[in-house]
Each structure stands twice: as structure tokens, then as C-alpha cells.
């Protein structure tokens, strides 16, 4: 049975286009223009994944509220913010509301599809007991490549999908410097330099929350980042 993707977006053209695109890729789509109708529909039946815009008709931060309400309905439901806003403040707020990832609208459909399928895979695997495991171990770091779960010194680190991909890109070949283009390619994002910098900063902070002595991600100025072992 096709997965249901809910699209909440106030611009009718974008909403219809995304709905069509997702349908062409084999998903079942339910599209909503505002928070009220979306929430009413979610209460009767939860989608398998939700794509939310932050600014909804009449509510500049309607997407954040909707995300919080949706998270209250289901802890496991994958939620992706897809928005025109790209300030660090919005990214942090969105992720704090419990979203799994945050994409700006200029990301393009391939990047969006990569995330949607990855999140579905993770959701499926979390539901079933793992049959086979694909774990990447780098010293204290362990990355579960199937479920997109990272842990440091055996303690889980709560990374978004984008962050997970960034960590994976850097940590796969310790000691190698990964430049920004490589990072963007592997994390399926198209952003400017300073966004990469703030992503890395957030990742460091999340690891430091688990282990204050964490210093495994090195900045090589002008070149990129490197995993220290």
C-alpha cells in the first residue's frame, strides 16, 4: 500500500506541484492549505510522513504549532519542514519542535525525495526488529546506517537526517578533509557556506551534550572538516 504523505502549504501552486511530484514517485498525497483543516484530518487519520511549511495562511509561525501538535499525536511520525525561511533561528526552532529535518524550498525534489525515502526506511526499521545491521564504527562513534541513529560512547545522539549524513560524510574516512561541496552532496543539501558552518556547530553541540570533551570534528579553515580519531 502506498505511503501517505501530508503536504501542508498555503501557496496553491506549490502545494499542487509537490502533490503531483510525490504522486508521480508513488506516494499517496493529502494536501492542506491551513493548520485547522490539516489538524482535523490528522486527528482522524495520521499520515505516514508530514511536509510542513512554517508560514501558513494568516499564521506566520503556524507550521511550528502544527508540528508540535502533530508530535503530540505521534512520537514516531517523520516530520520535515520545507520552507522559504532559512535563518538559523528558524532552523533551530523547527528542530526543537520535534521535526526530523529541515529543508529550504530551493533544495529541489531529488533532495526532498532522498529524505522522504530515508525517513520511511528508518520508520519501517524502527517498527520491526532488525534482521541485519549495518553499523559504521569510528572509535567512540557508532552510526547505524539503516536507522540513521548515531551514538557516542554508547549513548544516543539525537541527530536530524541532514546532520546524520554530514557526520557520516566526515567520519567515513577519518583524517581526510571533506570540503563543503562534498558535504553538501552527501547530505543532500544545497546551501551556502555559512549554513554548513552552523550545521557543524549544531552537530558539535549535540555531541557535547552527551560528552563535554567531544572534539572529534576539526575545522580546517578554508578547506572543510576532518574527523579526528
Amino acid at each position: 500500500m502506498a505511503k501517505i504523505v501530508a503536504v501542508v502549504e498555503d501557496d496553491p501552486a506549490i502545494r499542487a506541484n509537490y502533490a503531483d511530484l510525490l504522486k508521480k514517485h508513488g506516494y499517496q498525497v493529502s494536501a492542506f492549505a491551513d493548520r485547522g483543516s490539516a489538524l482535523a484530518a490528522f486527528r482522524s487519520r495520521l499520515p505516514d510522513l508530514a511536509l510542513l511549511d512554517i508560514g501558513l495562511a494568516g499564521e506566520p509561525d503556524g507550521g511550528f504549532a502544527l508540528c508540535r501538535e502533530l508530535r503530540a499525536l505521534s512520537a514516531a511520525l517523520p516530520i520535515i519542514f520545507l520552507t522559504a525561511r532559512d535563518s538559523d533561528f528558524d532552523v533551530i526552532s523547527g528542530l526543537r519542535m520535534g521535526a526530523d529535518d529541515y529543508l529550504t524550498k530551493d533544495a529541489g525534489i531529488p533532495h526532498l525525495l532522498a529524505r522522504i525515502s530515508a525517513l520511511f526506511r528508518r520508520a519501517d526499521l524502527l517498527r520491526e526488529p532488525p534482521l541485519e545491521e549495518e553499523i559504521l564504527e569510528r572509535g567512540e562513534l557508532s552510526l547505524d546506517m539503516k536507522r540513521f541513529v548515531a551514538s557516542w560512547k554508547s549513548k544516543p545522539v539525537d541527530l536530524t537526517l541532514t546532520e546524520f549524513w554530514l557526520v557520516h560524510c566526515v567520519a567515513r574516512f577519518p583524517g581526510h578533509v571533506k570540503n563543503r561541496e562534498q558535504l553538501m552532496k552527501e547530505a543532500h543539501i544545497v546551501v551556502d557556506d555559512s549554513t554548513i558552518t552552523s550545521h557543524v556547530k549544531r552537530i558539535r553541540r549535540k555531541f557535547q551534550a552527551v560528552d563535554p570533551a567531544f572534539a572529534a570534528i576539526d575545522t580546517v579553515y578554508g578547506l572543510g572538516y576532518r574527523w579526528n580519531t
Binding site: 501557496d11 501552486a13 506549490i14 506541484n17 509537490y18 503531483d20 511530484l21 508521480k24 522559504a84 525561511r85 532559512d86 535563518s87 538559523d88 533561528f89 529550504t104 524550498k105 530551493d106 529541489g108 525534489i109 570540503n179 544545497v190 546551501v191 551556502d192 557556506d193 555559512s194 549554513t195 558552518t197 552552523s198 575545522t219 580546517v220 579553515y221 578554508g222 578547506l223 572543510g224
Partner: protein, 506 residues
């Protein structure tokens, strides 16, 4: 020659200069009137003496060369007055009798009546230079020549009253004489001559002139002081306004701080207020320009997303080959639009980052080494040379922002670098970073504005979109590090030097 406001106002004060001249004219007129009066009085005195002597038998007793005695002496004494000299001549113009003295006995000095007089007396050493003070020390001799042949005597002997002005023999005093005939019946027996100096009038007019000088000097001094104070205040206010207006806008045209509008109600207050308003508008406009990029990129994202998602939908639909060409072109255009939007939002995001970023101490040399090593792969066609000091250059700020700033400077230099000469990156111990490239020079009028948002001097028709945000970001980051960014042409006009001064953190 440039005159300050104060000098001009002082020149205006010269209109006061005619005051002493007018005073002098007035005193001279007054003196003339007084002399006229003195003449009349003297003539009247002569007539009175002559009338008293009329038909007196004692007159016949008078002999030339013999002093008058008895009744005659009494009469003459009674008619005489202090500082008056009376003499009598007979028909042969021989001196018969003389009484009185032209010289004042004791020139009295009244105590000063008011403050002005005190001041006038205090100024006397100065006024002495201008005025000839009447003296009682003159030669009052009455030579024969003044008796016989003198006009007024001759007139009197012919039966008419006469008068005459003459100088004393030593010319130190002016003497006024009036003559009147002495009648005996229809016959003129002789003449009475009354003499007086003009010293009384002259000392009166001198005193008045003294006062005029004193008043003039006082008015001058007070007027000049008031005018000077007024002009100083005006020029002080204008200078302050000019300084404030100059400081309000820095060399890069940014409004640093607003002028505090003056609350005074005059024209200068108006000027200050309109300056303040104009600066405020300029600041608003600058702020609007700086936000424009972010706002535009945000507003454009939605329509761009519509176009992108539509194109992506089209790609998945079977299309004739002809149509595919157009969708590809549309996709190319979209990619360029995306690049523009990314640049614009990069600057806006940097503004936010700079506002909130935490500062740490770091060695700028390490950042430079890493960055310049990386440029070899990013700009394969351009060579870079790096020169660093021996000791660490510790700055206070964010190393990744510093790196970002260097990226922008390097990209800028690489784009403009034309000859084989490498782009020279140099850091000195004081934290001054220079990035110098050979190539096209900066237009003179743009050097100050280059670091503003949306200002670019790149030639038209470049492949990549340029919004003039790179150097604006350099400025933002330089300011974050407490520094300043400047652009200038090389001294030998072979290229351009970008210079960022960041203070070293101790």
C-alpha cells in the same frame, strides 16, 4: 583670504567709529556758541565800564604812565571781574589806566560728580595726547603794539564798539578783547578795553571732549565685548553642528550616529533639526538597502519554488524533444536565479550570525595558512603568496567568520587579478591583513562605497551574477572583529589593495 564669522562681526562694529567724530563736532559747535556768548558778555562789560566812566571828571586826572588812584581806582576795581583785565586809553592811544589780571588765580579742581567723570579723569593721560589743555602759564604782557593800532581800540576811538581775537604774545592762550568809547558829550574822550582769555570755555569744552572720549571708549568696549560674545557663540554653535554632521557619516557613507537635534528656536536650531531629519532619512534608506537583499531573496523564494516544482513535474512528463530544449533553458535560468538568491540570503544570514556569534581568541595565522592552502584547488588559475609574521597574531572573534572574510577577499582578488603576478596575502603583527592583486584599478569615486551592500564595480556581462555583497560581508566580518575594511589602488597604480585592520587581542 578667509574671514571667520567673528572677524566679520568685528568689522561690522566699525559703524560705531563715527561716534567720537560726531562728539567732537558737537563740542566744537558748542564752543562756538559759548564764544559768541563770551563776546556778547565782554562787549556788554566794556559798555558798562564806559557808561560808568561817562562824564567823570576823574578821567581827566589820568595821565599816561601813572597808576590810577583814589576814586578812579575804586571805580575800576568795582567794575572789574576775576580773570578780566580792563584798561583805558586816551585819544592818542596812550594807556591811562589798567586793572585786573588775565590769569586765573587758582585753577580749582572740582571733585568728580559721577562715575563717568571718574573714568574720564582716569583716561586723562590718553586725552592729553589729543587735546591741548588751556594753561594759565602764558605771557600776559600788553605790548605797545597791541594798544596803538589795534583794530578795536581804533574803532572805539572813532565812536564804535569793537572786538578782536588775538593770541597772547607767546601764543599759549587766546585773548578776546572788546572796546567801547568813553563819551563826554559828543566827544570821545578815550576807550575802555576789556580783555579775557578763552581758557574757561576751552577747559569746559575739553572736559566735555574728555567725556565724549570716555563714553565712546566705554561704548566701544562694551559693544565689542557683546558682539564678540555673540559672534563667538554663533561660531561655536556652527562649528559644533559642522563637527557633529561630519562625524555622523563615516568615510564609507554610513550614518554612524544621529545628530542630536537642537531645541533652540532660531535658524541654527532649524538647521540642526533639518540636518538631523536628513540624516535619519539617510540612515533609514541605508538600513532599507541593507535589508533589501534578504527581503528580496525571501519574497522571491516562493515564486521560484513554483517554477522549480513545475519544471520538475514537467521533467517527469513525456515531452516532445522541442519542448525539452525549453525546459532545459528554463532550468538553467532557474539555477542562475538560485545562485543570486543564495548570495543574497548569505549576506542576510551573515548579518544575523554577526549579531549573535560568540567571540573567542584565535591565531589568525592558522586560519590564513589553512585557507590559502585550500585556494590552490578552488582557484586553479591564480597563484597566491602568503606572508605571515613570526609570532602569533591573536584576534578576538570567530575563526570561521574570519576565514569566510578571507574567502571573499581572495575570490574578489582572484576575479580581478589579470597578470601572472600572484595575489599577495599579507598579515602583520598588528593584525592588519592586506590582499593585493594586480589588475584593473578602482574608480576613484567608488573607493569609499565598495563595502556597501549591493555596490559592485565589476564590468557588465560577467558570467556569474554579482550583487556587490561579497565586500559588504567583508565589512560586516571586519566590524565583528572590531576592525575596519578599506580598499585602495596600489601606489604604483598596478593593482588594488584591500586592507582589513583588526585590533590584536592582548
Amino acid at each position: 583670504m578667509r574671514f571667520g564669522l567673528r572677524a566679520k562681526v568685528a568689522l561690522v562694529a566699525l559703524v560705531l567709529a563715527p561716534i567720537p567724530w560726531l562728539g567732537y563736532r558737537y563740542v566744537k559747535d558748542m564752543e562756538a556758541v559759548l564764544r559768541e556768548g563770551q563776546e556778547q558778555a565782554l562787549v556788554a562789560t566794556a559798555r558798562a565800564v564806559a557808561t560808568a566812566l561817562h562824564d567823570r571828571p576823574e578821567l581827566a586826572d589820568l595821565r599816561p604812565g601813572v597808576a590810577a588812584g583814589g576814586e578812579m581806582e575804586r571805580i575800576l576795581k568795582s567794575l572789574g571781574r576775576a580773570d578780566l583785565r580792563i584798561w583805558i586809553v586816551d585819544r592818542q592811544e596812550r594807556l591811562l589806566a589798567i586793572t585786573g589780571d588775565l590769569r586765573k588765580k587758582a585753577p580749582e579742581e572740582r571733585p568728580p560728580a559721577d562715575a563717568l567723570e571718574v573714568f574720564a579723569r582716569w583716561l586723562r593721560p590718553v586725552t592729553e595726547l589729543l587735546l591741548e589743555r588751556p594753561t594759565e602759564d602764558f605771557d600776559d604782557a600788553l605790548p605797545e603794539s597791541q594798544i596803538s593800532g589795534a583794530g578795536e581800540v581804533r574803532a572805539a576811538l572813532q565812536g564804535m564798539a569793537g572786538r578782536r581775537w588775538r593770541s597772547s604774545t607767546d601764543s599759549r592762550a587766546v585773548i578776546l578783547s572788546a572796546a567801547h568809547p568813553i563819551w563826554s558829550g559828543d566827544e570821545v574822550l578815550g576807550a575802555v578795553v576789556v580783555e579775557e582769555t578763552t581758557n574757561a570755555i576751552r577747559s569746559l569744552s575739553d572736559r566735555t571732549l574728555e567725556k565724549v572720549v570716555a563714553v565712546t571708549l566705554l561704548v566701544f568696549a562694551i559693544g565689542a565685548l557683546v558682539l564678540l560674545a555673540f559672534a563667538s557663540r554663533l561660531s561655536l554653535r556652527l562649528t559644533r553642528l559642522r563637527d557633529e554632521a561630519e562625524q555622523a557619516i563615516d568615510s564609507q557613507g554610513r550614518v554612524k550616529k544621529l545628530l542630536a537635534a537642537s531645541s533652540s528656536g532660531d535658524e541654527l536650531g532649524d538647521l540642526s533639526r533639518s540636518f538631523s531629519t536628513a540624516l535619519e532619512r539617510l540612515a533609514q534608506y541605508n538600513a532599507y538597502l541593507e535589508k533589501l537583499g534578504g527581503r528580496l531573496s525571501h519574497e522571491l523564494r516562493t515564486p521560484v519554488t513554483v517554477v522549480r516544482s513545475s519544471l520538475e513535474n514537467l521533467k517527469m512528463t513525456p515531452l516532445p524533444d522541442e519542448a525539452r530544449v525549453y525546459t532545459e533553458r528554463a532550468a538553467e535560468g532557474l539555477a542562475r536565479l538560485d545562485a543570486i538568491l543564495t548570495r543574497m540570503s548569505e549576506a542576510t544570514r551573515l548579518e544575523a550570525v554577526v549579531r549573535e556569534a560568540e567571540r573567542e581568541r584565535f591565531d589568525a595565522r592558522e586560519v590564513l595558512r589553512g585557507c590559502v592552502a585550500g585556494y590552490a584547488s578552488i582557484f586553479p588559475l591564480v597563484r597566491f603568496s602568503l606572508s605571515l609574521p613570526e609570532s602569533p597574531v591573536m584576534l578576538r572573534g570567530a575563526p570561521d567568520l574570519y576565514a569566510q572574510m578571507l574567502d571573499k577577499l581572495a575570490a574578489n582578488a582572484a576575479d580581478f587579478s589579470q597578470r601572472d603576478e600572484p595575489v599577495r596575502i599579507r598579515l602583520d603583527e598588528k593584525g592588519t591583513l592586506t590582499v593585493s592583486n594586480s589588475g584593473a584599478l578602482l574608480p576613484a569615486e567608488m573607493t569609499g562605497r565598495l563595502f556597501e551592500s549591493m555596490v559592485s564595480v565589476r564590468p557588465e556581462g560577467a558570467n556569474e551574477p554579482h550583487l556587490g555583497l561579497g565586500l559588504y560581508m567583508v565589512r560586516l566580518i571586519a566590524q565583528f572583529h572590531g576592525g575596519e575594511a578599506r580598499a585602495a589602488n596600489r601606489e604604483d597604480a598596478s593593482g588594488v589593495v584591500m586592507r582589513v585592520d583588526c585590533p590584536v587581542s592582548s
